[in-house]
Structure formats: C-alpha cells, structure tokens
Subunit: 185 residues, 2 copies
C-alpha cells in the first residue's frame, strides 16, 4: 500500500531533488518497473511533507523561477528502512493486454495471428535493444563491485529488465514458430 510513497522516499533518500527531478527519474531509471505522472507526484510530495517524512527548501533558478528541493527527514529514513525489510506476499501477476489478446486467439485467422505476433515482437525487440545499450553504458561508466551501493541497485534492476524482455521475445518467437509450422490456412 502507498507504494508511490516509498518510491519517492527512496529516490529523495539517494539525493535531494524536486518534483520535476522525480518525474524524470520515473521516466528513466525506474522506467523498467515503476512510473508516475507529475499529477500524482506533486500531491504525494505535499502529503509526505505534512507527514514530516520529507522537507523542502525553495531555491531560485535564474531570475525568479522557484523550485522546491526536497530532502528526506530522519523519520522518513526510518520508515523507508522499515519498508525495505518487510516480507509481503507475492503481488498478483501484472495485467498484460497482449496476453489477453493472445488468449482469445480463436478469434483470428492464421494470417492475422502472424501479423499481430510479429508486430508485438518488433516492439519488444526494440525495447530489448534499448535496455541492452543502457547496460553497455552502465558497465562502461559505473563501478558495480560494491553490492551495497546505488550503482549495484541500478545494475540488478536493469539486468532483470533485460531478462524479462528477452523472455517475452523468446515467447513471441516460440508462438510464431508454432503457428507457422501448423498446416491450417
């Protein structure tokens, strides 16, 4: 519950940042397992401030543009640490619209099936390529020898994302092979 709360606390714990910075982190570093729009982030920051888990300092950018740089409090650190050690039951499997379509395969002709799966395969291959190049970049620029480090956290989630995408691509390829092999028109 209130998972966005911990995603934000964890990021601000790494280093102080603004709501806008958080938005960018969600789109970049966390994109392979989390996302949040600014319309959700700003109200949550207000909430966390009221709960004394974070505080902010107003900084002037340029002439008059105000931005709020948030920092985690001691109380926030304690809650974050408590959360990270919780052992919760497995979440329900995530929803997947393509798998839902695939399940109702009987509604398509063979040609339509091949077309649908091929289109999906291309999208996932592109995504996989992006992740692989991000990994190449990470390995070239960061030191992941220390397990208890932000860099190692970055590394394992990226590794996990690549393995997940690879499994998706493998699955689509297997489906396509099975469909193509069949004799039906």
């Amino acid at each position: 519950m209130r998972k966005l709360k911990y995603a934000i606390l964890g990021l601000i714990n790494r280093k102080p940042m603004t709501g806008y910075d958080l938005m960018i982190e969600f789109d970049k570093a966390l994109a392979s397992f989390w996302h949040a729009k600014h319309s959700q982030i700003y109200p949550e920051l207000k909430k966390l401030t009221n709960e004394n888990l974070i505080t902010y300092e107003t900084v002037i950018q340029g002439e008059k543009l105000e931005k709020k740089v948030y920092t985690i409090t001691e109380k926030g650190k304690q809650e974050l640490r408590k959360w990270i050690l919780r052992d919760e039951p497995l979440e329900p499997t995530p929803k997947d619209v393509f798998r839902l379509r695939a399940y109702f395969i009987e509604l398509m002709t063979k040609d339509e099936i091949i077309q649908q799966f091929t289109a999906q395969l291309e999208k996932h291959q592109k995504k996989l390529a992006v992740l692989q190049s991000a990994m190449k970049n990470l390995l070239e620029t960061k030191d992941i020898s220390n397990v208890i480090s932000e860099e190692f956290g970055d590394y394992i989630v990226l590794k996990g994302a690549i393995m997940r995408e690879q499994a998706y691509v493998d699955w689509l390829n297997e489906c396509l092979a099975a469909v193509r092999k069949s004799d039906q028109k």
Copy 2:
C-alpha cells in the same frame, strides 16, 4: 481502455456464463495475465448489457436461487473482433514492488539482501511449479494441434507465464550469486 470489457466479452464469447463463473475464470484460466474482483465484474456486466453487447437469461438453481447467464450478442461479437485486431502501442512496463525494493539495495546489509532475495525466490519457484504442473495437465488432456482454437490460446498464455516466471527465478538466482560472491560483510 476499458480492457475489462473485452476480457469479459471474450470469455462470454467462448461460452455463456454468470458473473460468478467469470470471477472463477479470472482466478484460474486468466490468473497469469488478468484479474478482476466480483465487485468490478457485476457493474461491468450491467454496463455491457445496457450497451447491448451481451444479454442475460435468468436461470433458477435448485428451489429459488436466481442466477443470470450472460450470452454475447452479434454487436458484442463485432466489437470483440474489432478489438482483437487493433494494433496499439506497447503498454508501460508493469509495476513491480520487489524490483523497487531491489533498486534501493543500498539500504540493506548483505545478510538482509540475501534474506530478501531468497524469500522472493522461494515464492516464485512455487509459482513456477504450479504453472508447470498446469502445463503437464493441459498437455495430457487437451488437443493443441489446431492453432485457431481455445485450447491453443490456453496453451500459449500458459507457456508465456512459465517463461516469464522462469526468467524471474533466473534473475533472482543471478542476483543471489553476485551478492554471495562479493567480499563485503
């Protein structure tokens, strides 16, 4: 948008059923890629009825227990077929709380990391075993030689679920190996 609508239409298209039957299907056959509670199903059935995509017939079970058996209409079939052929952009990657925790690995000690990942591994191994036994059962009882069939749909989504779980298990094992190998206390 309104994905539950199509999940329900697809299931009722396979064969007429009640809201309760749908609930069971979501928990069993669709569990590896979709889920919905009865509190969401019943209002959606009402909505679909108002839109003339499904109709129902009241059937008496036993002495007086009434149940509503829903059937898809021609209009419903047309909408379902239109949906299945749509080519939509890839959905954002699903959220994953464990990956979020893993990302913030710097908040744990080495022992805590091993404990967290081992607990998660056990859960996913159990899930994988359940899926594998479901596959064994499916292959023994159903004919999947026809690609354009409900049975083949059942087969491919189960195959996909197994591959996804296997990838998760592999990832957790790799993380554990990397952590154990490290010299830090």
